[in-house]
Structures are given as C-alpha cells and as structure tokens.
C-alpha cells in the first residue's frame, strides 16, 4: 500500500502559496484536494491545459460529417425520391440534423474524455479524508511504488528517477514549511476494501 503525506491548509490562498513550494521540491506524485475548483491552483501546480477540447473538436466534426453522409446516402443514393419538388441532395434541409449530431457527438465525446482523463470510475483510490469534499483544503505528496520484479521474477532495471525520492519525514517537513496547519501520514485505501 502506497503511503502519502497529507497537509491541510486554512484557505484556498494558503493552498496556492503552499502548492508553489511543494511543486518546487520536485516530487513525482503530488496533488491538491479541494471541495471546489480553486482558481490559480492549476498554474501553481504546473498543470497543462486539458486535452479534452481537441478530442471534442475532432469527434464533433465527425458528427457533422456522419450526419451529412447519412442523409445524402439515404436521400440521394439508396432510394432517391422526389419530395416537395426538391433535388435529391437538398443539402440546406440536412443542416439542422448536421448541427444536432455535431452537438450529440461532441457532448458524448466530452463526457467520455472527462471520464478517461480523470480515471473514472475510480474504484481503487478512496478519498484521503471526508472533509475534502466539505470544507478543507489539502496537498498530498504520494509515494510512488513501482514493482521491483517482472512476471518472470527478474529484477526490473530502471534509470535513476529525475524526481525527488519520497521520504515521509522530509515530505511532512516540507508541507509544514509551506504553511500547512495539520500534517498527517495516510495510506491509500480502496473504496470497497
């Protein structure tokens, strides 16, 4: 079970200030836990912008294309009918459904991307403390546990990590210095353990 050191901060402002110090320490696995999105925290934490908009753009446009191809093929290729004296490929009449399918594809992509990006449904990692969805703000520095042996029992050789190695007392010292009012060591549990 991976360990983590959890430091609580009094306010979102303290959390951002603390995050800048924690980030500078160059740990591999650290994250903030808050009851609502704190603006300015992403920059302090060094998070890149989400990739979700690109997925939505591409699949949204594929919705437009799907709708046009579907309507064109059904109305003008598979069984052409003259309806209301209009041409078989009466594309202006296809626009509303092209728009709706664009939104439908984009919206479903947006949901699926969000679930993938956040690792949902998350069955294994339980929340560190119930107050984190209520009124408290925390930063966790987490231990990274990598398997030492592969499936054949051979030792896995790794390049030395460019990150700082996790050390419980050092990490809790860092959190205290960065303004945490309470620091404790926790163990990552599962939801259904």
């Amino acid at each position: 079970m991976a360990k983590a050191v959890l430091g609580f901060y009094n306010s979102p402002e303290d959390l951002i200030a603390g995050m800048e110090k924690v980030r500078a320490a160059n740990y591999e696995q650290f994250d903030a836990y808050t009851p609502f999105p704190v603006h300015g925290l992403d920059d302090a934490q060094g998070l890149k912008r989400s990739w979700i908009p690109w997925a939505v753009l591409v699949l949204g446009m594929s919705g437009t294309a799907t709708a046009f191809v579907m309507q064109y093929w059904m109305s003008a290729v598979d069984w052409p009918h003259i309806i209301g004296g209009k041409p078989f490929n009466s594309w202006p009449a296809f626009v509303p459904i092209m728009f709706e399918l664009t939104v439908l594809f984009a919206g479903i992509t947006n949901l699926v991307s969000m679930l993938v990006a956040c690792g949902f449904p998350n069955l294994k990692k339980k929340i560190f403390d119930p107050s984190l969805t209520n009124n408290r703000f925390a930063i966790a520095i987490e231990e990274v546990v990598l398997p030492t042996h592969d499936s054949h029992g051979d030792v896995i050789e790794r390049k030395p990590s460019k990150f700082k190695t996790f050390n419980e007392s050092e990490a809790s010292q860092l959190l205290k210095q960065s303004g945490a009012v309470e620091v404790r060591t926790v163990v990552q549990e599962g939801w259904f353990a």
Binding site: N10, S11, P12, E13, D14, D31, A32, Y33, T34, P35, F36, P37, V38, L41, D42, Q45, L47, S50, I52, P53, M70, Q71, M74, S75, W79, I83, G84, K86, P96, I97, F99, E100, L101, V103, L104, G107, I108, N110, L111, S113, M114, L115, A117, C118, G119, F120, P121, N122, L123, K124, K125, K126, I127, F128, P130, L132, T133, N134, N135, W191
Partner: protein, 451 residues
C-alpha cells in the same frame, strides 16, 4: 470585498454550513409538506395514466381532434414542456459563459427541471402518435424490411433529432455537474447502503485538482455546446409550424419568437418551483430575494420580446396584403377563440409589467402569482398558435371548432403529475443546490477575516 447587496449567500454561512444545509432534506425523513405535495403529484400522475390507458385502448379518435384541427392540446403540451426546459439550460450554460455568479444557487434545480420537462415533452409527443410502440418505425432512420428511409426534408424529423439530442446532452451535463456534490453527500453518509449508492454515483470522485482541471474544461465545453443547442431546439420546434404553408404559422419571426417565449415560460416555472423549494427546505440563504429578483427581470425582458412578437405578427399580416394572413390574425383576436388570445395577451404581456417596480420584483406573493400567470399565458400562446390557425383553413366548408375532451386534459394533468413527482424525488435524493459551485462564489475564510 462583497457588499451586502450582492452577497450571493446570506446568513454568514461557512463552507461546512453549505453541506449541512443542502444535505439536510436528503438525510432526514420527509416533512408532512413534502408528503402532501408528493401525494398530490401522484394523484395527478394517476389521472394521466388513466388517460393514456383510455387513449391506447380506444385510439386518439376519442379526443376532440377533427378535420381541419389535427393538432390540439397534444402538440400544445409538447411545445409547452420543451419550452419550460429552456430556462434550465439558459441558467446552466448561457449564464455560465457570461460568468453570472448568481446562477450557482439555482442552476442545479433549474437543470433538473429541464430534464423532467423534456421527459414530459417526449412522453406527450410519443403518446400523441396513438400507437407509440410503432413510433420507432416512423421516427428513426434504420434499415427495415420496407427499404424506406425517413424524410430528412421534414421539420418533424429534425425535431426528433433536436429533442433527443437536447435530452441526452442536458442529462449528461446535469450528471457531470452532480458528481462532486454526490461525493459530498457520500462523505457525510453514515448508513452503509446509502454510502455505497452515493459512492457508485460519485464515480469515486475525490476532489483531486488534476481531476478538477479536466472537469472544469469539460464543464466549460458542455456550456459551450448547450448554448447553441438550446437556441436550436426551440427554433426547430418552431419550424414544425413555420415551414408549413398555413397562414398564422408560415412566418419567419417564429424561431426567435419561440426561443424568447421558451425562456420566458421556463423562468416563470423556475420561479414557481424555487419559491416553493426555498420555503419547504429552508434554502432562503442560498436562493435569496436577490436571485429571484434577477429572474423576475429576465421574465420582464423576455415578456416584452414576446409582446413585441405578437404585435409584429399583426403588423406583418396587414403589411403582407394577403387576405388569408389578415383574416387569420383578425380571427385569432376576435374570432371564436378570442378568449384564449386575450388570456395569452393579459398573462404574457400585461402581467409581467408589474416587475418594473422593485417592490414587486422582491415580493414573494406577487412573483409567485405572476409566475403562474405566465405559465398559463404561455400554455395559451401555443394553444392559440395551433388551434386558431387550424380551425379556419382555406376552404370555409371544412371549418370546424376544436373542443378538447376530458381525456385530453387528463394527459396534460398527467404530465404535470409526472413532472412534480420527479422533481419531488429529486429534491429528496440529490443535492438540490450545487454545493461546490456555491462555495466557489463565497468569500474565502481569509477574505472573511479581513472583511
């Protein structure tokens, strides 16, 4: 520093108070008031079920529909309920893009209202086909043994795509918004089963900022997608009428006029619901008079747009020089259905005018009554558009009157019952105020200390 006037949460609440207050209705046994409302809603729903049973047994011939009035309260109900839904999306998406912080107190319940209203719309439009179990054959493009496809040039088919997309996206948007709040409820839960259910529903949310970052991006995109979607849906609904050649329907003003009317009626329904909800659950510090006043301003503004559209229609009917157009509009206001026209005008155009006065905008009794008037007025607007245009068609020999029968009204009563049953269950089992979003617009503990 926030002044008292624009404080979005009153009563000096802390973050923990928000969770405690919003979760209270979920964690305590329902009050008598709730049971009375729920019982009434179930009774209405039972009338609806009886009406649908009658309809499916004897067919829609038992309704008052005839030639030339092929549409009546069925499509009136449909347009009414789709329209109601629009305010929820406006609050959740458009006000989000405009960074209107006051939306946070009301967006959750408004979105829930949208979903239940669109369910009602789907329900009435599917059942008005008479044999809804055949509806899939006519509505959806799928390979079939008749080798026929649906007609993509028909606005009725655009409607199928528009309303089903609208329902899907609204439902997803609402659920995504709920995830962090379900997690809050989960972390308060003491009962084991309760904890398990909310854990599953929360998808294992744990408030990680890496998750928040993706979540916020996705939320913004949902708002961006829903904004044109909501404008498109009622435009497409208006095409059901505007694309036909019938005087009274065949006008280019319909899409913006319908969208404004939809927002107007939807906001009235939000006010109706929130006035009851804040009273019943003690949410007065979160849904303040300030919130209600802002909504009343929107009701006033959209009511004026609708009033302008009524006037514009008359002007164009005269200006067109078409005898049929002129006849239709004079008949609308002074013909056999004159009373429905003037109910519409007095409820939709005249009654919201009291909101020019600040005292009226902030008076619970006044706004509750006006919101009911607007709901009634908007129901009659659709009735007027549909029935008065149809009952006098081009050939005087086929003119006829349309009088809705009891079982038609029963369907409408049934949708009301369904809507309120769903809404009452929602406030009982899910957080009715977006806790995370409310907290993000509250002053932080540090700001409070300096304040």
């Amino acid at each position: 520093m926030a002044t008292v006037a624009d404080a979005l949460v009153t009563g000096g609440k802390t973050y923990a108070d928000v969770n405690a207050d919003v979760s209270r209705p979920l964690e305590s046994f329902p009050t008598t008031k709730w049971w009375v409302c729920f019982g009434t809603a179930l009774f209405f729903l039972a009338i609806g079920l009886a009406s649908w049973t009658m309809e499916f047994t004897y067919g829609i011939g038992m309704w008052g529909l005839n030639h030339p009035s092929g549409w009546g309260t069925d499509i009136t109900n449909f347009v009414f309920w789709v329209g109601i839904g629009h305010a929820g999306t406006l609050i959740s998406a458009i006000l989000f893009l405009f960074r209107q912080k006051w939306r946070t107190g009301i967006n959750r319940s408004a979105e829930a209202m949208t979903i239940f209203a669109v369910m009602c719309a789907l329900l009435v439009v599917l059942t008005h086909t008479g044999r809804p179990w055949y509806a899939a054959f006519w509505l959806l493009p799928y390979p079939n043994q008749r080798q026929l496809w649906v007609n993509f040039r028909s606005p009725l088919l655009w409607d199928v795509f528009a309303v089903s997309t609208y329902f899907t996206i609204s439902l997803i948007f609402w659920f995504v918004g709920l995830i962090p709040d379900i997690a809050s409820v989960r972390d308060r839960a003491k009962n084991k089963t309760r904890k398990l259910i909310y854990t599953l529903l929360s998808l294992g949310w744990r408030g990680s900022n890496k998750n928040w970052s993706h979540y916020e991006t996705a939320y913004m995109i949902f708002a961006g997608l829903s904004t044109p979607l909501v404008l498109s849906v009622h435009s497409v609904v208006s095409f059901d009428f505007a694309v036909s050649n019938l005087p009274g329907w065949h006008t280019t003003i319909f899409p913006p006029y319908f969208v404004a009317g939809a927002i107007f009626s939807g906001f009235a329904m939000v006010v109706t619901l929130l006035v009851i909800m804040r009273e019943m659950f003690g949410f007065k510090n979160y849904i303040t008079l300030g919130h209600l006043e802002r909504m009343n301003k929107i009701i006033l503004a959209t009511g004026m747009i609708v009033g302008y559209a009524y006037a514009c229609e008359f002007f164009i009917a005269w200006y067109s020089g078409s005898a049929f157009e002129r006849f239709t509009f004079i008949n609308r206001a002074f013909g056999p259905y004159w009373w429905s026209y003037w109910i519409m005008v007095s409820c939709n155009v005249l009654s919201p005018q009291v909101f020019w006065f600040r005292a009226a905008r902030r008076n619970i009794a006044v706004m509750f009554i006006i919101s009911l008037y607007v709901n009634i007025g908007m129901y009659f607007e659709r009735f007027v558009i549909i029935v008065t245009s149809l009952h006098r068609d081009f050939l005087p020999s086929s003119w006829d009157m349309y009088v809705p029968k009891f079982w038609e009204w029963g369907v409408f009563i049934g949708t009301l019952g369904f809507f309120f049953t769903m809404f009452l269950l929602f406030v009982r089992f899910l957080p009715a105020i977006a806790m995370g979003e409310v907290k993000s617009v509250m002053p932080t503990p540090k700001e409070n200390a300096h304040g």
